[in-house]
Assembly symmetry: C2
């Protein structure tokens, strides 16, 4: 029934947000002489959101927004060595190991022999390629797409490119905003697997106008059973 | 004869390097109290090259390397407002208009009815998408690919994905390192159109082991004639 089963990557297949939180905590420590942690967190989120249209998603955008936040909240008093510390925090994120979420390896191994699996992710192209390589999952996925946005049109374009009808497309991810609602909108099947840590921007979604239309699973381990139920061989 | 004619984008279809040079000149001005222009230029290039493996190509990587250079060459004395100026220079580059190189619009209009045209470019995904939109060339190209590197393997993977034999693939660009030599290596046809401004990293190529095997055109206007000669209908 499904020609392609697509997965979001960050915080769906592997840990990601916790590294951003760790870097943000470091920024809070650096800026403690100037501002409280809550103000730093809020200003960083505001700066990231304001820069989103220009920078797009990913690690380098995050680093630039951290630097901008640091200069702004310190009234320009931040030291050069503190700026370097922020840059080093970003470089550490680039160099960090990829840790799969529980159940991911087993679930993908179960699905791969019977389905074409795909990754659809936002973020820096190079960074996501690197994470895929480090994850050891490269061979499991037939297709790997890094996109600049995840709007309904993004999914329409991808499906057209792969010549797949929406009713034969399933998308799985932790973000209602990016992975679930746009896929529901174009007539695909979406599965929401919440993650304990989800970037506030992604979590900021108006649920009130949404009448479900997607599946919610507590854990990726439940995916094969769901597939058996809704798309038995 | 050619199933796909592919073009590099930056400094092949539209101006790009001049915006980087302008931003680099601004960095030199900001750092004039600390270091001479030549040292700033060389340190920036060294920093970019060192960061290339981690950051990849594109505007945000450039911005981060400018900031790192500024902190380093000022011995940490650079002011917060100067850091903001660097960030603003990057944001200006993001917002800037796209100006096509002379002859590009006419040449592509001549080729488009008879050939499948493609863009293969490095850089930030979002930034390149934006430039394509602003260029007004979106309708001319059937395919648009942003890649993290341009190695022989990059081209092999792309050709496999589009199911195209190397002998039916032509690539046109201003960088010997990225657009020409790897395409020659995999058995494709490459056309080098030099640009007055080419990033030093791209220009840093060992020609000695290369026995040509590609075409060199002074101007993109000459492309239709070359195609008539080597691949007449």
């Amino acid at each position: 029934m499904f020609d392609i089963i697509a997965f979001d990557a960050d915080d769906t297949l592997w840990h990601n947000e916790r590294d951003y939180r760790r870097a943000a905590a470091r920024l809070q420590t650096l800026l403690a002489p100037y501002q409280g942690a809550a103000v730093v967190a809020q200003t960083l989120l505001d700066t990231e959101t304001r820069n989103l249209e220009g920078y797009g998603y990913g690690l380098k955008a995050f680093a630039l927004s951290m630097i901008e936040t640091a200069v702004s909240l310190s009234n320009g008093q931040i030291s050069g060595s503190d700026i370097l510390q922020i840059i080093h925090a970003a470089k550490e994120m680039i160099a960090t190991d990829v840790e799969l979420l529980p159940g991911v390896a087993e679930t993908l191994a179960t699905l791969a022999p019977h389905h074409r699996l795909m990754i659809i992710t936002k973020g820096d192209l190079l960074d996501q390629e690197r994470k895929l390589t480090r994850s050891g999952l490269g061979d499991v996925f037939t297709h790997f797409e890094v996109v600049s946005h995840k709007t309904p049109q993004t999914y329409r374009d991808l499906l057209a490119r792969y010549d797949i009808a929406p009713q034969h497309f399933m998308m799985i991810g932790n973000s209602l905003r990016s992975d679930v609602l746009p896929v529901v909108e174009i007539g695909g099947t979406a599965v929401h697997i919440p993650h304990a840590l989800t970037w506030e921007y992604e979590a900021d979604v108006d649920h009130t106008h949404h009448h479900n239309g997607y599946y919610e699973l507590p854990h990726i381990n439940d995916l094969p059973t769901l597939l058996q139920q809704i798309a038995p061989h």
